[in-house]
Symmetry: C2
Subunit: 216 residues, 2 copies
DNA sequence: CTTGATTAGTGAACCTTTTCACAAGAATGG
DNA sequence: CCATTCTTGTGAAAAGGTTCACTAATCAAG
């Protein structure tokens, strides 16, 4: 049995995104070559990535968009809605609450927390704000969520992360610049816009392209 | 001469970030082992990455934080201020305008554009909003910028990108889900939060960690 | 001055990931 | 049924990146 490269899994999300676009355009059939052009990838890579998870295509024909999309969703675990809990309702937090692409792709916020006492109890983007100290209570009710989105200030980040872990949440999307210390069984994705800007700076300065082929 | 891996350049930004933290803490000397622990990297990798660009350390001693930081900034082209132009002053756009980490790390917004006539002429986060049709005029004045930050709706993205390119801008940080079509000499970094969430979904569903080691 | 402890720099080995090239299967037209 | 065209699935080769293991340099203590 083959070891599946992490990066192949990430690319599945990319493929799924483009398959969804094809589906919305009413396209029923697609070849690895066409999909590769859309994604900016190599057709052989797409076929190989898919092969790690099964056989989804028909030789001489291509891939049926709907079938492949459903198969990929099943593999990635995105054939369901995932609930998000926001920590830190500042500029970025508010923007994330209203970020349409989340809802479109099956991610909905069910809870929002902030340290600011004046904010607690008020509504932002139709979400009632709670105190992060109350996370355990919130999680028992309709505010229950699967993934924490951390958008607090740097000073609150580690503290919040510990509360999140203690409440039994095992996944964090971390927008703070802090390297979180969490138990091994907790998954953390660090998002850092400035790193991406640095890549552009280097490319502009040296003329050598270090931008990434695929979106992240 | 060696070919420098793209990914090594990206990691330099990570090292620089942690060196800045050390510098702020008054630390003057650091070893590859210590820095590696901070960054969550392998010490040999740090030494190798640095070696692509020169010799910055002292054997038996380590790296002088300040010297290395300055050297890295020089290499990456971040020993200067970079000016950003924002396109699309919606939820996300506003959040980016007020994003403290940008200013802290040498990125400042000098211009902001929106299609909404009611917004044009008003101020958001102390920035006057212009029409994207006027980009060429704005660029001649104090609103001149080096990198475009694209945070419009999907429908406006490609159109805006073309205007940006025509105005002579060669770098775009793209927050829209659109795969931009631009000339070869224009650098594009695509940011997609949902892809990162998908990685967490897969990890949670399968138990196998596909999150990235380093922030992006 | 010598010894021992550190730590950067680096060639080589190792591992991972991407790409190639072709066999196998499917549709179409005669 | 056969030939042709298409496209997937996949072993193997190539490319790319990471880690190891050792050398060279530096410092401190005896």
């Amino acid at each position: 049995m083959h070891k599946i490269p992490n990066i192949a899994v990430i690319r599945l999300a990319l493929y799924a995104k483009h398959l969804e676009m094809l589906h919305n355009d009413g396209v029923e059939l697609v070849s690895s070559v066409k999909l590769a052009k859309m994604c900016g990838a190599n057709p052989a890579q797409i076929r190989k990535d898919l092969a790690y998870f099964g056989q989804f295509g028909v030789r001489g024909v291509g891939y049926y968009v709907n079938d492949l999309l459903n198969a990929l969703k099943e593999v990635m675990g995105t054939n369901r809605t995932w609930r998000l809990g926001l920590f830190g309702v500042g500029n970025l937090g508010k923007a994330l609450l209203g970020f349409e692409q989340f809802a479109q792709r099956g991610f909905i916020f069910t809870a929002a927390f902030d340290k600011d006492i004046d904010l607690v109890g008020t509504e932002v983007q139709g979400m009632e704000i709670s105190q992060s100290e109350d996370i355990k209570e919130v999680i028992k009710g309709p505010g229950c969520f699967d993934i924490a989105v951390l958008a607090t200030g740097a000073d609150r980040a580690q503290d919040c992360a510990m509360r999140i872990v203690e409440a039994g949440i095992h996944a964090i999307l971390n927008f703070t610049p802090v390297r979180l210390v969490v138990p091994e069984n907790v998954f953390v994705e660090n998002v850092d816009f400035t790193v991406r800007l640095h890549a552009l700076c280097y490319s502009l300065t040296t003329g050598s392209d270090v931008t990434q082929r695929h979106p992240r």
